[in-house]
Amino acid sequence: MTHPDLDQLVLLARRDRPALGVLAAVARSLRVPFAAAPIAAIVTPSTAAASLVAKAGLSRLALLGWGAGSTVAVSGVVLAVVFSRPVAPPASPVRAPVLQPVRAPVLPQVAEPAPAPEVAASPAASPARPAKETPATWDEPQLIERARKALAAEPRRALSLTQEHQRRFPAGALGVERDVIALEALARTGQAAEAKRRALAFQAKYPKSIHLPRVNALLARLGSE
């Protein structure tokens, strides 16, 4: 894998944005209202960034995805969820920071066994071994964010996290995001046919989705392989 050079890294850094829900959680602990930047402020990722990422051989989803587009797409929903439910009880009283609910445990770096393809094909069925790195303390945005982050290097793990999401939040606010991650992950784990089938289903189901360009690009890529 080739890495971008320093200038390219800087360009990407300038577009770096917090994961879903992070600032909402800070706002919650400061007890101030917060809404992610309005659509006008974060337009769709620029083509420059897209080509950089393409050059770097990185997942478009991983770098451009939720930082820009999906923050817009889902933040409203997420914030509604975040603000309307009571603050989650602290998982464990470590250091007792005010921000306990945000804190996610550090991920142990262990390889996830590949879920069997038939399991992947039917997300309703939970994997034989549930991902033990996803403790119940992870909330919905955290789970999706972990899955998104795992996409580039550990697509199998990303896939199993989306299954975990499907299991725990079947009616969650980030279902669309989960589906996009899942089909990217399928494509990356060599399950092209299933990825294609689901991408087509996605197109039909969400014809106005902000993620559609990504799904279309994935289909085009799969078609040309």
Binding site: M1, T2, H3, P4, D5, L6, Q8, L9, V10, L12, A13, R14, D16, R17, P18, V22, L23, A25, V26, A27, S29, L30, R31, V32, P33, F34, A35, A37, A56, L58, A62, L63, F83, P97, V98, L99, V102, R103, A104, V106, L107, Q109, K149, A152, A153, E154
Partner: protein, 170 residues
């Protein structure tokens, strides 16, 4: 939003709404660890709330927040040095060399920044990533503009060297 009483005033709440993302990113590239970012970010705005009466508008609010963030980041970096590296999600041992492949580019830059001097890092992040004019960078860091330029040059050189050692093309 009817909620418990806010910990900060409405002016700070507006600052948060307008600049929280920038503060988050600034802290990240200054070397606050990913899992400390939310706490550090909160700290910046609590300090801002306390110091707001002193703010005379001699700089843009964003730049003023960066000044607070610089100090907050410094304490978090100190704290981080006291914590064993095993706790560090960015720590990489030689046996984990393949980790580099896994790390996305944002983390790659943070990793490289961890390996240059603090003063160079501050100039680099303020000017290159946050795109502050050099005069403001120098004012924030209380150094001369020429010193700031010199640190920037050294920072770029050091970063390129660190990245090159990791096999990143120059």
């Amino acid at each position: 939003m009817p909620r418990e009483e806010a910990l900060v005033g409405p002016a700070t709440a507006r600052l948060f709404q307008a600049h929280a993302e920038e503060v988050w990113r600034f802290l990240k590239y200054l070397g606050v660890r990913e899992h400390d970012l939310a706490d550090a970010c909160q700290e910046v705005f609590l300090v801002a709330h306390r110091k707001l009466p002193e703010f005379r508008g001699e700089s843009a609010p964003r730049t003023w927040l960066y000044g607070i963030s610089l100090r907050v980041a410094k304490t978090w970096r100190r704290r981080r040095q006291l914590v064993p590296l095993g706790e560090d999600d960015r720590a990489v041992g030689p046996q984990q060399e393949h980790e580099r492949e896994r790390r996305d580019t944002h983390e790659l830059l943070c990793w490289a920044l961890d390996r240059i001097s603090e003063t160079q890092r501050e100039v680099f992040v303020l000017h290159e990533i946050e795109e502050l004019p050099m005069a403001e960078v120098a004012a924030r860091l209380e150094c001369g503009v020429f010193t700031a330029y010199s640190r920037l040059r050294l920072a770029r050189r050091a970063l390129k060297r660190v990245l090159a050692e990791k096999g990143v093309k120059r």
